[in-house]
């Protein structure tokens, strides 16, 4: 089922067939145990020059990439622009509202780790879908691996157009939560509020926040995920973020393994 990795770049999950996504996840298995060692290093990329190219401010992804040559940019398509002009590998660390493939890969890895497989699971992605690159990469990856995906949020941030991507759209979180195997909550961007995409944080919490009370609707084995940083008390209550369903800290740990795998695979090609 696996095949050799032949890509110079990782630009997005839309272009990646299921077997290549699985190949990255399997490669990440090997790196996962590296993260448990005293010295969290492998010699695979020794001697290579890697460049951090963060055009958009971010601290988190930079930390888990550590050695990375990668691009984060506010404009959709910027990594493709760079990849077309460079011999070196380009790894997309988030471009505008387009894709964030390593985040989606670590989300997939975490689901697969906790639930054995992804096919057949029902994943709800909740929040600001319209402006989210994490949502898009997750949608592409989850659908390719056979999950059922429901997007949840206000109609202004989850337009019906998304149904054409092969997902379901719901504006009623209480109807979705009891059926979901995974609930991935996205950060609500406060600046959107000024543009009148929804009436305010209070109303958002009332209709879409994963409160303690709403968490009672969840299946016992439902996974709660969040790409961080969390707005505690907005998209998710603290008790739920830190509760039994939550795999948010596993996502952080798995992020290191998945990103090491991506660097290993793409770095090997560019040499």
């Amino acid at each position: 089922m696996t095949r050799r990795w032949t890509r110079k770049d990782l630009l997005g999950l839309r272009e990646l067939p299921a077997e290549e996504i699985n190949f990255v996840l399997e490669t990440a298995d090997a790196f996962k145990q590296v993260g448990t060692r005293e010295i969290k290093k492998v010699p695979a990329l020794r001697g290579k020059t890697l460049m951090n190219f963060f055009v958009e401010p971010s601290t988190r992804t930079r930390t888990s990439f550590e050695l990375a040559a990668l691009l984060r940019h506010g404009s959709a398509g910027a990594p493709q622009f760079l990849a077309n002009r460079l011999k070196a590998s380009v790894i997309n660390a988030g471009d505008g509202a387009h894709e964030h493939p390593t985040q989606a890969l670590l989300d997939l890895y975490t689901i697969r780790e906790k639930r054995g497989q992804i096919a057949g699971l029902h994943v709800a992605i909740v929040g600001d879908i319209l402006f989210s690159r994490v949502a898009r990469s997750n949608i592409f990856g989850l659908l390719k691996l056979g999950a059922r995906v429901t997007l949840v949020g206000p109609s202004t941030l989850v337009p019906r157009e998304f149904e054409k991507l092969g997902v379901e759209v719901s504006h009623k979180i209480d109807e979705v939560l009891p059926k979901a195997d995974v609930v991935n909550l996205l950060r609500i961007q406060h600046e959107r509020q000024r543009r009148e995409y929804f009436p305010g944080i209070g109303e958002y919490i009332r209709f879409f926040g994963l409160t303690k009370e709403r968490a009672k609707l969840l299946k016992a084995d439902c996974l709660i995920m969040h790409p961080g940083p969390i707005n505690r008390g907005v998209e998710i209550d603290s008790e739920v973020a830190d509760g039994l369903h939550s795999v948010i800290l596993d996502q952080v740990t798995n992020g290191l393994a998945v990103r090491m795998a991506v660097l290993y695979l793409c770095g090997g090609i560019s040499s």
Binding site: R14, S75, G77, A97, F131, E161, K164
Partner: protein
């Protein structure tokens, strides 16, 4: 015969003369003497050696084509295009007359800038360059430009193209004033609130790619506004580069009631859909954006039933270094003068069969001449001899590196097209031939 009485004589032999203004479509010779179209009996007085003969066997002999929507970028942005390079591109595309838009620097919101453009164009002496004037001072959409003085300086229309007057009251007064001085109004139809920071059509591809987008309603809202104001003021408003199905529907309904509203179509809006943006090619970033298949089909219907009566390019040159940036940062626009005729013949006549070549020529001659009240667009006896020879069956490949334009921002490089101009004659003089 005394030599000083001799005037240049050209005979275009044996072509298919298509002259929609005179309902003429026949295999015939066309006679040009002293830069004007003449009847056959006047043409034979010159000695044989003084007559230029052009064999047009198998070719269409059409009135010189008119493109009413061209950005020449001069004054102010001559690194993109100059009046000269733009005029040569027009000639190479088969156009004898082009109408240039006012988003230059300085803006032609004053008679002096209009005079400068006209002087430059006449010094170059390639094709006819007809300037438009701004509707509002500095295209700001707030105060009216001196529309009367602009009309006296010779503008053929007023427009804030590239911008759209958002204040309906300002637009209303502009149209009323334009009626008094007798110039039509051209409008780039966009509601800025609905457009926002959008750079592509709001639909499937914007959803997939996460690019900032705006809905067709952003154009349709202003088309509707223009229908109402054309009716209120009883004066022509022409909607530029119509891209949306709803705009076609609004214009169709209004024209059916006799409202003085019209619309034009650019080749890229029927040759491409928003699917073309999927690789973030900034040459496909245009304003209004490439839209959905539904919109393209509606444009084709509008062309077929006469709702959309004028074809044009919205030729919008940009330098490589300006286009070679992130998609959302790149400037809008693509060049079109040297591909539009080929694309439209290929798509409208050959591929889709929506109009015949006679109507296509009419949409490039009679229709724009009527809108702008130009003394061109026909092969009538006595008319200035602006003539385009077209080979409607010629297969050719677009090569941007062979363009006359100073810019290269076209997504059509490498496209194989059927049909193109092979000779362009302005005032009896060949300004370009293949």
């Amino acid at each position: 015969m005394r030599r000083d009485l001799l005037v240049s004589t050209t005979i275009i032999r044996n072509g298919r003369v298509i002259d929609p203004a005179n309902r003429r479509d026949e295999i015939s010779d066309l006679f040009i003497v002293g830069g004007k179209i003449v009847g056959s009996k006047f043409a034979i007085r010159s000695p044989q050696s003084e007559i230029e003969e052009i064999d047009a066997t198998g070719l269409i002999v059409a009135p010189g084509l008119i493109d009413i929507h061209v950005h020449l970028r001069e004054p102010g942005f001559s690194h993109k295009e100059t009046i000269e390079s733009g005029a040569r591109a027009a000639a190479a595309g088969g156009f004898t007359t082009i109408v240039c838009m006012p988003n230059t620097s300085p803006v032609p919101d004053n008679a002096g800038t209009i005079a400068w453009i006209k002087d430059r164009a006449s010094a170059i002496g390639c094709v006819n360059v007809l300037p438009t004037g701004a509707i509002s001072k500095n295209l700001a959409g707030e105060e009216l430009a001196p529309i009367g003085s602009l009309a006296q300086a010779g503008v053929v229309a007023i427009t804030d193209d590239g911008h759209c007057i958002q204040n309906h009251e300002v637009m209303r007064r502009a149209v009323e004033y334009a009626r008094m001085v007798g110039v039509p109004v051209l409008d780039h139809c966009q509601d800025y609130n609905l457009v926002g920071n959008g750079v592509v059509h709001e639909g499937y591809w914007s959803t997939l790619l996460g690019l900032p987008s705006w809905p067709a309603a952003g154009e349709e809202a202003i088309v509707m506004r223009n229908v109402l104001l054309a009716e209120l003021c009883d004066h022509p408003i022409h909607c530029q580069h119509v891209s949306a199905a709803g705009s076609v529907r609004l214009i169709r309904e209004a024209r059916g009631r006799g409202v003085k509203i019209s619309g034009e179509v650019c080749p890229h809006h029927v040759a491409l859909t928003d699917e073309a943006i999927q690789n973030f090619d900034t040459n496909c970033k245009v304003n209004p954006p490439l839209r959905s298949r539904t919109d393209v089909d509606a444009l084709l219907d509008g062309i077929a039933d006469g709702t959309l009566s004028i074809l044009c390019s919205d030729h919008a040159p940009h330098a490589d270094f300006e286009k070679e940036v992130e998609f959302d940062v790149a400037p809008f626009g693509m060049i079109g003068l040297e591909t539009e005729l080929g694309l439209f013949i290929d798509l409208l006549v050959h591929k889709h069969g929506r109009i015949d070549i006679v109507r296509l020529i009419e949409m490039y001659s009679v229709e724009p001449a009527r809108l702008l009240k130009l003394d061109s667009g026909s092969l009538s006896t006595g008319a200035r001899a602006d003539v385009t020879l077209i080979d409607s069956g010629l297969e050719w490949t677009v090569r941007v590196d062979q363009f006359q334009s100073a810019s290269r921002n076209s997504p059509f490089d490498g496209w194989k097209l059927k049909g193109r101009a092979v000779r362009t004659i302005v005032g009896g003089k060949t300004v370009w031939k293949l």
